[in-house]
Symmetry: C2
Subunit: 138 residues, 2 copies
Amino acid sequence: MEVTGILETCLYAENLSEAEAFYSKFPGIDLVSKEKDRHVFFRCGSSMLLIFNPKHTANEQTDVDGQAIPLHGASGAGHVAFSIQTGFLNKWKELLQREGIEIESEVTWPNGHISIYFRDPAGNSLELVSSEIWGIKN
Amino acid sequence: MEVTGILETCLYAENLSEAEAFYSKFPGIDLVSKEKDRHVFFRCGSSMLLIFNPKHTANEQTDVDGQAIPLHGASGAGHVAFSIQTGFLNKWKELLQREGIEIESEVTWPNGHISIYFRDPAGNSLELVSSEIWGIKN
């Protein structure tokens, strides 16, 4: 018996239309469902990226047949790293430039892998890097 | 070219020793590295769970050879769902009970899958559920 992986990763954004438009620019991040003013859900590889409006999820109790979905909701910049295929960093830089997304930083790690960092419209810090940086097969 | 998955999922906790002790109770969540007062990193399946102290990462600039790692750090309850093998929910309930972790809620979704929810010591909302809830193979 073990935890087999991380199934849902969450970020928070008060403006969900803006978040939806932003994340939809990324091939491989695919809209699954949304609920106005509450959330936008995306599939990404074998897991889910859930963007919640913390004003809603931290305050308004939602339930399923009377069973409460616990409140959650953070403020401040969260962080998510997305894995990209090795060797595609320049193509991603071109995509970000084309979409008007500013690269905040580029970091070359001691093991030679390179991360690029940028922000989503809510200020969350996003990173693109090969999963090999953690010794995880692509 | 596409994003191949979510490589790093973050939660925030000011007390990292407490976070390390807590997450280490879960088979399948394995300590990879830590830096006192800044972070504790775990591997979970094919991705990483990073617990950061937001007092550090939101305020103190870290760099790698002069290249800045962007600041991030949230307050309030974040949320992560971990995938578990289908059919193991009762075994997980036993483990939580044995470890003195209170189940906050149990939700049966319209598709029949069941989620259990509990909190980490920092108040983040955690969920255990089969990945099949999202139509994702276990």
